[in-house]
């Protein structure tokens, strides 16, 4: 693990900060449930692009940050994103070589799947079940994934993040 091998860690941190900002930017009421899971997309990207650097712990940390910002139970998003990072790491070899349309479909499934722990946590807290609304972010994330993927890849290549 020489310094030469790992570089550009700040780019990863910067991308997460950007994603967190996008996650709390106020949106109009009618669109609020459709907010894409920016942080989840960032977790997936770094897990498939640099599986030796980003991992379950990265996802967990990002999740804790989300819990703080969203004032949800500590661990709610952390659990979801740690799970997300784990699955992304498992399938990163396949996901990397998939063509974008196929990738998009997997992203939809992943983001829809990681809503489940959140659904249970909310259920335990006494929230009414919102099964369909949980799919909205998955749909918008799916639509925005190519764009996020390409811009994050440009960022990574430009700064030679390894």
């Amino acid at each position: 693990m020489s310094l030469e091998r790992h570089q550009g860690g700040w780019v990863i941190v910067f991308s997460f900060i950007l994603a967190l900002l996008l996650a709390i930017i106020p949106l109009p009421d009618w669109i609020i449930l459709w907010r894409p899971e920016w942080v989840a997309m960032t977790v997936i990207y770094w897990c498939i692009a640099l599986p030796e650097r980003a991992g379950v712990f990265t996802g967990w940390l990002a999740g804790i940050a989300m819990d703080i910002l969203y004032s949800t139970l500590l661990g709610h998003y952390a659990l979801s994103y740690a799970l997300l990072a784990y699955i992304s790491l498992k399938i990163h070899r396949r996901l990397r070589v998939f063509p974008l349309p196929q990738q998009v479909f997997i992203i939809f499934l992943l983001i829809a799947f990681i809503q489940l722990p959140g659904l249970w946590v909310r259920g335990i807290q006494g929230h009414p079940s919102t099964l369909f609304e949980l799919l909205y972010p998955a749909v918008t994330s799916m639509l925005l994934w190519p764009w996020a993927f390409i811009s994050l890849r440009m960022l990574r290549q430009h700064f030679h993040v390894r």
Binding site: I24, I25, P26, L27, I68, A78, V121, Q125
Partner: protein
């Protein structure tokens, strides 16, 4: 696996106990630059539009506010008279006199929270002596209460959040009940007997039971009553009186038994004076 386990333990502890509040405030301090980064441009954009608004509109608005102020002042005179009379009568009846509550004004930050819960973030925190449990109002009625106070900001849970319940009373009949949030923009009234005298249009006010909210503040209006003969309770829905998602400035009213904050500004019924010069209050339109 380990992190998943830690997450579950954290959630349980956070749900059941309040050991984690300090940890949360500390972590929140680290993330507060993000919140301010989002809040500032939006707020300054709003300020700029306000600065750019035409002189004529400003003059008109000024005139309107002046008129309104006059009307309110006249009403206040009557109110003060009534209050004194009330105090005298209470003394005659040997009951506890009403004390004036301390209020402080905070602004809602332009930052979104969890879309499935009904919460908002205020720009004042424990630095301004805000603590969890302090009720929050707007000019129309009860909005909610503070659930978490960080150093520079605090989180308010609205009365429409499914985790929130508030003891209320009907103005017309004096009937006590509990208004629970539904997660949408309505309240649901629980545990009403089938024989309860309740109909759409009934005003709801805080009953002061539980000691969290001061009594007598408007909570909402009953909109819909459904009586099912087969069910043990009548179901009723209410619309909150406060403009829950259209506010920029909110009032925090300190409960009487709590130790009043040294620089909590003004008192209810008297003119409001801001002692904190570092955060000048925006004049509400």
């Amino acid at each position: 696996m380990l992190l998943g386990f830690i997450s579950i333990v954290l959630m349980t502890v956070d749900h059941q106990f309040n050991y984690l509040d300090n940890l949360r405030s500390m972590l929140s301090l680290g993330l507060s630059p993000l919140q301010h980064l989002v809040n500032l441009p939006i707020r300054s954009a709003r300020d700029v539009t306000e600065n750019l608004s035409m002189r004529r509109t400003l003059l008109m608005e000024n005139q309107q506010l002046r008129d309104e102020n006059l009307v309110l002042k006249v009403r206040l005179q009557r109110f003060e008279d009534l209050q004194q009379e009330n105090q005298r009568l209470r003394l005659l009846l040997d009951s506890v006199g009403e004390t004036e509550n301390q209020v402080t004004i905070a602004q809602v930050m332009s930052v979104d929270l969890d879309p499935f819960s009904r919460k908002m973030r205020l720009n004042k925190g424990s630095q301004h002596h805000i603590k969890a449990g302090i009720p929050v109002f707007d000019t129309q009625g009860v909005m909610g209460q503070v659930v978490q106070a960080d150093l520079f900001s605090s989180v308010v849970i609205l009365i429409t959040d499914p985790e929130h319940a508030i003891p209320v009373q009907m103005v017309r009949t004096g009937l006590h009940t509990i208004a629970v949030g539904t997660g949408s923009s309505t309240l649901s009234l629980r545990y009403l007997p089938n024989t309860a005298d309740i109909r759409p249009g009934d005003q709801l006010i805080t009953s002061g039971m539980g000691g969290r909210f001061p009594d007598g503040y408007p909570v909402g209006v009953v909109t819909d009553v459904q009586r099912n003969v087969g069910e043990p309770y009548t179901e009723a829905k209410a619309r909150p009186a406060a403009l829950l998602d259209r506010n920029r400035d909110v009032l925090l009213i300190w409960p009487e038994h709590a130790t009043a904050a040294p620089d909590a500004v003004g008192a209810l019924g008297t003119s409001h004076k801001n002692t904190d010069s570092s955060t000048p209050e925006e004049a509400s339109p």
